[in-house]
């Protein structure tokens, strides 16, 4: 009996483990992105793809 129960490993609680993990993870993430301290950083980061143009164009030899 125990054997056949194991054989199909019905373990619905299993779904909760990753859900809780994700919840904790997500909260940490929200904490990180809303910290006022990081504001400057994000401002700087979002400009990164656009920075290169200025240096690139004028430098054709």
């Amino acid at each position: 009996m125990k054997q056949s129960a194991l054989s199909y490993f019905q373990y619905p609680e299993m779904v909760l483990v990753p859900l809780i993990l994700f919840f904790v993870f997500f909260m940490l993430l929200l904490f990180f992105i809303t910290r006022p301290k990081n504001r400057e950083l994000f401002k700087k980061m979002e400009k990164m793809p656009l920075e290169e143009e200025e240096t690139n164009n004028e430098s054709i030899e």
Binding site: Q3, Q10, P18
Partner: protein, 703 residues
């Protein structure tokens, strides 16, 4: 490295970017053309030409692999190498590694192009390539990784822009997926058995398969989106915060979603629920990403009408949103019971690949080519025409497959007042959708025609570009460097490393919790339930089934759904596939499920049907396999095959392994004699492959 990092000037390696663009264009044409051929074969079976290496079941894996790894792969390598140098303000780490990466990848594609049509296939979707090529892929991927992480290590800026995060996640996860899913034991130079069997193989394969979509077709393209949309629109990403949430949620959630490919199957319920819940959760971050991409274009909307680049990018992101809405929907068990195994899934996939991956790549290439060759696009009009023709192509493709899928799904389900199937004859449900297969082929042709316009445009643009330019030097002296190589450099490297480790943990946790319990499952099967292993001849026949790629049209998994059970018999049980290496549960039913086809028809029926399906079922669209009754079966190798199986835990006794060839020959002779008795003209089919295949088909569901 041709330039030292601490000099104030550098030369970006754009040569390698150009090479990857050429490769993406060339392989793209091949991938789309082969796709069109496959689509045509389903509408018009004669397009199989009765040639083994042109048959649908060999061509279809060629199409998927070429589209994903040859077109998609070369496109992302081009974009990653181009954008990373600019974001990291340095030349790629090593010119030789770049070169090995490029040529190695092209050789792998060439190897696929040769081996797949010849039938060297593991028949695991998007992982069909045989073991020597698997090893080559690993090596080249590691070289790519060293080159990429090396570039990060010698960078001139401190912070890693979000696009780079997506690249890091891609490189890391694809490596893990590929290695874990490709653990196989060779039985010859071009054949192997996976170490996983049955349900384990199914779970590992779809963990791989789904995450190939996630980490080969989504994360790298999102990285490209986060770089090229701001570039093309000349404005920063709408919300950097949102991009962080987008990234981490995707990486965390995606890895769990694989089991949505196995809903209502014999896979344990908890794993199915896990797959469903996490797939539905995926909707949120995906749409966050789409909104972020689209809102970046706010204020640049007027350009959507005039600038083909923006057009392609905007529509690509919209298709990303559409596919990531549809995906979670399809993962809901009840919706899935209608859509699974039907063409709806094919429509869904092509919304993603043609719309999202294709159009994003086109937008990127239209942006890059004039820049890299220091010229202007030859013709805006051609590009606009490409856009519209391609767009209508996708719509026609998508709508026809959607209609086809829902038609199939409803017909399979439909049960009349007496509790009988309304369409008991499977082929009825096939005939009904053939017109839609023609429509799909038209959609595909339009997409290809659009692409050809692009090829012409690119060829003209490049050939009219000014010749003999020196490589551009980029001035780095006014880069507001946080740190320069030397001082504090270690710290920078370690930041990148910490980040990489975090990503690694996120994907590993999901993978382990989901896969490990299933790896032990066969141990707990009650002895009474265990089935007998395949006889040597059946195993030989199974290998032919795998080689021919019958899984491209046939499933072997009867779901726990009434209408499946009424049509095909008792729902499939775990133990029935416990010795199946590779598993062949399948993902699409262009033909009927075969899990219990054993004993349903006489041997002669199968013989005639395989040689010419239309002789048995006049309207069938199944290809003919006439070569199977003149190719001899290799009995000798069966000893090695069975001994590998035995080593993997299949309970063969030593005697069976040692005499596998003799046993198989005897089995084959019996079947042959019985056929010969009914039809004396069959004297030539002694010892041919078709006899083994019939013996395998007759064993299905009979163990």
């Amino acid at each position: 490295m041709s330039m030292e990092n601490n000099q104030s000037r550098t030369v970006y390696d754009d040569d390698i970017v150009k090479k990857f663009i050429y490769a993406a264009l060339i392989w793209g044409a091949a991938a789309f053309a082969v796709g069109l051929l496959a689509a045509t074969q389903l509408a018009y079976w004669q397009a199989n030409f009765n040639l083994e290496w042109l048959t649908f079941s060999r061509i279809r894996p060629l199409h998927t692999n070429a589209a994903i790894f040859a077109f998609g792969g070369n496109a992302i390598f081009a974009g990653i190498y181009h954008s990373s140098q600019r974001l990291l303000k340095t030349r790629l780490y090593s010119d030789s590694l770049s070169s090995i990466h490029f040529w190695g990848w092209q050789l792998i594609i060439l190897a696929a192009l040769i081996t797949l049509p010849l039938g060297f296939s593991q028949s695991k979707e998007y992982a069909e390539l045989e073991w020597p090529i698997d090893i080559a892929i690993t090596v080249i991927w590691v070289i790519f990784a060293i080159n990429f992480f090396g570039t990060i290590a010698v960078r001139r800026v401190k912070h890693l822009y979000v696009a780079l995060w997506f690249y890091i996640a891609t490189i890391l996860t694809v490596a893990v997926l590929h290695v874990v899913n490709s653990i196989e034991i060779p039985v010859s130079y071009l054949q192997s058995y996976p170490v996983y069997a049955g349900v384990q193989d199914a779970l590992v394969q779809w963990w791989y398969g789904h995450n190939a979509v996630a980490f080969f077709l989504t994360t790298p393209f999102l990285g490209l989106m986060y770089y090229y949309i701001p570039k093309a629109a000349n404005r920063p990403i709408y919300s950097y915060r949102l991009s962080i949430v987008h990234f981490w949620s995707l990486v965390f959630i995606y890895i769990w979603a694989g089991p949505h490919h196995l809903l209502n199957s014999a896979l344990p319920d908890w794993a199915q629920t896990l797959g469903m819940v996490f797939s539905i959760m995926l909707w949120a971050p995906s749409w966050g990403g789409m909104i972020n991409g689209l809102l970046t274009l706010r204020g640049a909307w007027h350009k959507v009408r005039t600038d083909p680049i923006i057009k392609f990018l905007a529509v690509a992101v919209t298709f990303y949103g559409m596919s990531t809405f549809e995906g979670p929907l399809l993962s809901i068990k009840s919706v899935n019971s209608l859509a699974h195994y039907t063409d709806w899934i094919i429509g869904h996939v092509h919304g993603g690949t043609l719309g999202w991956n294709g159009f994003l790549t086109f937008g990127m290439i239209y942006y890059l080519v004039p820049k890299l060759w220091n010229t202007k696009l030859y013709s805006q009009r051609l590009a606009n025409n490409h856009f519209w023709i391609g767009f209508f192509g996708i719509l026609i493709y998508y709508i026809s497959m959607w209609a086809s899928g829902i038609t199939q799904g409803l017909m399979w389900q439909s049960i009349d007042a007496n509790g009988q199937l309304a369409y008991p004859d499977f082929v009825e449900t096939v005939i009904k959708i053939v017109p839609l297969y023609y429509a799909r082929a038209i959609g595909g042709s339009l997409f290809l025609i659009g692409f050809i316009l692009m090829l012409i445009n690119m060829w003209k643009t490049i050939s009219l570009a000014p010749k003999g330019q020196d490589e551009q030097q980029v001035d780095m002296s006014n880069i507001t460097m946080d740190e320069v190589a030397g001082t504090g450099h270690r710290k920078l490297e370690s930041l990148g490393a910490v980040f990489t480790v975090l990503v690694f943990i996120a994907i590993l946790v999901g993978s382990i919790i989901e896969i490990v319990p299933t790896l032990a499952i066969h141990k707990y099967l009650p002895d009474a339930n265990k089935v007998r292993p395949y006889t040597p001849l059946e195993q030989a026949g199974r290998d032919i089934y795998v080689k021919e790629g019958c899984y491209t049209c046939h499933s072997q998994m009867i779901r726990k759904l009434d209408f499946d059970v009424i049509r095909y018999g008792e729902a499939s049980k775990l133990e029935e596939s416990m010795y199946d290496r590779p598993f062949q549960w399948g993902s699409k039913r262009t033909g009927p499920d075969l899990a219990r086809v054993g004993g349903k028809y006489p041997d002669m029926w199968h013989y005639r049907h395989m040689i010419d399906p239309r002789e048995i079922t006049p309207k069938s669209i199944m290809p003919a396999y006439p070569w199977l009754d003149n190719k001899k079966l290799d009995y000798q190798i069966l000893r090695r095959k069975l001994s590998v199986m035995k080593r993997l835990g299949v309970p063969y006794d030593d005697e069976t392994v040692a005499n596998a060839d003799i046993i198989a020959e005897k089995e084959s002779l019996e079947l042959f004699n019985a056929l010969l008795e009914q039809d004396p003209s069959l004297e030539n089919i002694k010892d041919t492959q078709i006899i083994a295949l019939i013996s395998y088909l007759q064993s299905l569901g009979k163990k």
